[in-house]
């Protein structure tokens, strides 16, 4: 990490506004800003401080190798997006369409292998009148209004980002530079003076190597932080300035998904939205969204309150796909794309300081995700638009980007908007999940139907405090002696334990078909096309090796979306292969040990790095 390296001479440049991360929030910000930087008479709304006589210089840095390489299947009401594009023609955005049909289905377990609480069993019984035997599912007869997405739209995050990026850059006033990881903010007292880019030409350890090029300092009057929940700049600001009193970021999920070509003859219509609960484990939710041209986005969410110490998104995704309710539609299909992403599910409760002198936070990393409605993209977009409008106002008035000015403009607008109103309703809606899925579902319904007036209380623990030992989790299912045997058989071979443990519980073996059911590594190659550029340091680090030596289960390796973290046969500290990393950041919160310096964090450090997914269809 940079604070451990000797000082080196760095190049420096200046802009007026520098943005970190090109996701939906930054896209909303730049779309709004780009349209207003010039007056109708062709003069700029304000002079650039860094290049006098020119319009404000706006630069955005994105870690991924292209601006469409994010991952998310999106169903959204798109209120903010439509406000930005009143004449939006979805046919112009590849893979986009209107929502036409919505269903929520409870999936019964065909194998009897999942763990179900008494509450979930009661729920299964209550849904029996709606159960369809052939698909082992019960479609809910009623979708509560807070979960409805109709009228709304389906989008591919990758395609939408490409489309917005082309719009933003075509104006010629804003530059978006992909393939450029940002290492850290330049903090001067309480002020952020810009950002430092990641060093290039370094070894895995970060030491200079052939072609060493120290990361440049990009100084700016305003730094816009939209690097998402696992982005290094937002988290460094949290570390430096702390979270506001009462706020914490303890609720997470990893979303893993595929984009598939549906088989010929599939009867699902474009715009169909299927959400599932109950299987493969009660804690794991699933989704399937049907795009035009017989394509679909499908996947699962594995949350931090799923206490399994060997939670593996990939194998669970394969079991979920093969559930008869889903399999009837996708059997015979082909994977086009695959990926994974961490979601910050604390929502407003995890909201950091939104502004400071010279900086502002937008998007998911700023707590915009609505955990009640399960909606994040439009909220992130809207926060970017709100900041864009505020910045335009400040530029026009010739005001500086001070904390006070940003509070009075951006934060005030955000607080008065639907974004804040709905975030407040959602704030405590998921607390019940901390004490079980059934209680969580009841809590969500209560919060949603009373608009947040009534909530079931919970006990949000830090992720590392929740993870059970293998013996605790499998109590009554697999004996301690058998677990020890499995551990002894897997560790020397550098294998994780989840496959052996799931086999033991009765989960069937996955029979690969080479097109939809493929090995995890094939998903990386065929779906994610994962790559890492040469000459960057490792971005997953283990803060304290001693902590790894007392870890009861390397959940970091078990959950790793790309099998980039693996069990070390020769020692306690897991191995990391950055060429397989999809930058989902799941390792950051899937760790049994607290960080040696900050109990809110875990022992896994996730810093700036290069590479990741190379698919723009996610």
């Amino acid at each position: 990490m940079s604070d451990q390296q000797p000082e080196v001479e760095r190049m420096s440049m200046e802009a007026d506004i520098v943005c970190v991360g090109y996701g939906p929030a930054t896209a909303g910000f730049l779309t709004t800003l780009g349209r207003a930087l010039m007056n109708e008479d062709g003069t700029p709304i304000a002079d650039s401080a860094s290049m006098p006589g020119m319009p404000p210089q706006v630069i955005c840095y994105e870690r991924a190798d292209d601006i469409g390489f994010g991952v998310s299947g999106i169903v959204t009401k798109g209120r903010g997006i439509r406000q930005s594009f009143p004449d939006l023609d979805l046919s112009q955005v590849p893979m986009a369409c209107e929502v036409t049909e919505e269903k929520i289905a409870y999936l019964y377990d065909p194998y009897g292998a999942s763990r179900k609480s008494m509450g979930m069993k009661l729920m299964e019984t209550a849904l029996l009148p709606f159960k369809k035997g052939e698909t082992l599912s019960a479609e809910l007869p009623y979708i509560p209004p807070f979960l409805k997405k109709h009228p709304g739209m389906l989008l591919s995050m990758g395609q939408f980002m490409q489309w917005t990026g082309a719009e933003v850059m075509s104006q010629g006033l804003i530059q978006i530079w992909p393939g450029t990881p940002v290492a850290e903010p330049l903090i001067e007292g309480t002020r952020v003076a810009g950002v430092r880019l990641a060093d290039q030409g370094v070894k895995k350890t970060g030491e200079p190597d052939t072609g060493f090029m120290p990361g440049m300092d990009m100084k700016a009057r305003l730094t816009v932080v939209g690097d998402g929940p696992v982005g290094p700049i937002g988290r460094k600001l949290d570390q430096e300035f702390g979270l506001p009193r009462g706020k914490h970021q303890r609720e997470w999920a990893v979303g893993m998904k595929m984009v598939v070509n549906l088989p010929e003859g599939c009867t699902l219509k474009p715009g169909t939205v299927l959400h599932t609960i109950g299987f493969p484990e009660p804690e794991i939710f699933g989704f399937l969204y049907v795009y035009p041209d017989n394509m679909a986005s499908l996947g699962i969410f594995v949350p931090s309150w799923f206490d399994c110490p060997v939670r593996t998104s990939y194998r669970y995704l394969q079991h979920w796909m093969q559930h008869p309710y889903i399999w009837q539609h996708v059997k015979g299909g082909t994977m086009r794309s695959w990926g994974a992403k961490s979601l910050q599910e604390s929502g407003r409760r995890g909201e950091p300081h939104l502004v400071g002198d010279g900086w502002a936070r937008i998007g998911e990393g700023s707590g915009t995700t609505n955990v009640l409605t399960g909606s994040g993209v439009d909220e992130a977009w809207t926060s970017g638009v709100q900041l864009g409008q505020a910045v335009i106002g400040l530029l026009r008035e010739g005001k500086n980007f001070t904390k006070d000015n940003l509070e009075a403009s951006y934060v005030t607008t955000r607080r008065a908007s639907w974004l804040e109103e709905e975030a407040r309703i959602a704030e405590k809606s998921r607390d019940g999940f901390t004490k079980g899925t059934f209680r969580g579902l009841i809590g969500m319904a209560l919060s949603g139907l009373t608009k947040g007036a009534l909530n079931l209380p919970g006990d949000p623990k830090r992720p590392h405090e929740r993870i059970l030992t293998l013996e605790e989790y499998y109590q009554g299912k697999i004996s301690g002696a058998r677990i020890a045997e499995i551990k002894k058989a897997t560790k020397p071979n550098g294998q994780t334990m989840h496959d052996a443990l799931m086999d033991e519980l009765g989960w069937p073996v996955i029979n690969y078909d080479g097109s939809l059911l493929v090995s995890h590594q094939d998903a990386l190659l065929l779906g994610g096309k994962v790559q890492a550029n040469h000459g960057y340091a490792d971005h997953v680090l283990f803060a304290d090796a001693k902590k790894c030596s007392v870890c009861h289960s390397p959940v970091c390796a078990e959950v790793c979306s790309g099998q980039a973290i693996t069990v070390n046969p020769d020692g306690p500290v897991p191995l990391f292969d950055r060429e397989k990393c999809v930058h989902c950041g799941a390792c950051m919160w899937n760790c049994t040990q607290a960080h040696p310096k900050d109990a809110e964090k875990t022992n896994v450090e996730f810093v700036a790095g290069s590479g990741g997914l190379h698919s723009a269809e996610n």
Partner: protein, 267 residues
């Protein structure tokens, strides 16, 4: 002594993607081509990085990148390429699918090159890819050279050394895994680059910012390329046969794996 280096190179779909040829209303095309991420043709990339390196080492030299491709995609790719090497972009709007006649493409590129105001043809080194990830041959750069009247042409170039007397030693790949070294007294010359010897340069934001001065105006001013397609017909388009078999082996020796792979390759 200085050089005016013109690199012809455009975009191709990211080779990591699965490409599916289809026959569209205007002939063969790639399914969902505009949805797929694109990259600078890797062969043209080698040529560009060699050009930038040469220009850096020979004072007062200059590099132009002449690209024929769909404007929106070119814009996106340039945001990655522009950080790696200093150049001035000259853009022509048109397809880069690989289903355009190399003759037509060469004509369009020649027109674009002839429109470069401050290009000194006596100092000109015409660079391009010896191969192309979408077009498959170095025919385009050869024809551009011919149209520009450049008679000294080299294909499969891996190294260019400028000597003290201004002459150039050019290392060309030839048949049988051998190399041919030629000595060229001076520019102009055309070179279709093989892989060259330089690694991909790191991203340099300062270079990117300098390049932006030409990139956005070039894209905004890019004229549609005149591609007639006359006398050219694609008879057949097919994907190379791909075989993929996945099997999990837990206790197989390295030798056994190697033997099985050899047997599999032999069919």
């Amino acid at each position: 002594m200085s050089y005016h280096i013109v690199v012809c190179g455009s975009i191709v779909p990211d080779p990591l993607q699965v490409l599916e040829p289809i026959v569209g209303p205007t002939g063969p095309a790639l399914k969902n081509e505009m949805m797929l991420p694109a990259v600078l043709d890797p062969w043209a990339g080698h040529a560009l990085f060699e050009a930038a390196n040469l220009a850096k080492n020979v004072p007062n030299s200059k590099v132009w990148l002449v690209a024929l491709g769909p404007k929106a995609k070119l814009q996106q790719v340039m945001m990655s390429v522009a950080q790696k090497a200093l150049f001035t972009l000259v853009a022509a709007d048109g397809p880069a699918s690989g289903f355009v006649d190399a003759f037509d493409t060469a004509a369009a590129l020649t027109t674009a090159i002839e429109g470069i105001a401050d290009l000194d043809r006596d100092k000109m080194l015409l660079f391009g890819g010896w191969q192309s990830a979408s077009r498959g041959t170095g025919a385009t750069i050869q024809m551009v050279g011919e149209r520009l009247g450049i008679v000294n042409q080299f294909q499969g170039v891996d190294k260019l050394t400028v000597n003290a007397d201004g002459s150039m030693d050019i290392l060309e790949r030839i048949e049988g895994g051998s190399y041919l070294t030629s000595r060229l007294s001076s520019a102009p010359a055309a070179m279709g680059w093989a892989t060259g010897e330089l690694p991909e340069p790191p991203n340099n934001p300062q270079v990117g910012m300098m390049n932006m001065k030409s990139i956005m105006p070039a894209l905004q001013q890019a004229k549609p390329a005149q591609l007639t397609g006359a006398g050219f017909k694609v008879e057949n388009v097919a994907q190379p046969k791909v075989m993929r078999q996945t099997r999990i082996e837990k206790d197989m020796s390295t030798d056994a794996i190697a033997q099985e792979i050899v047997a599999w390759i032999k069919g």
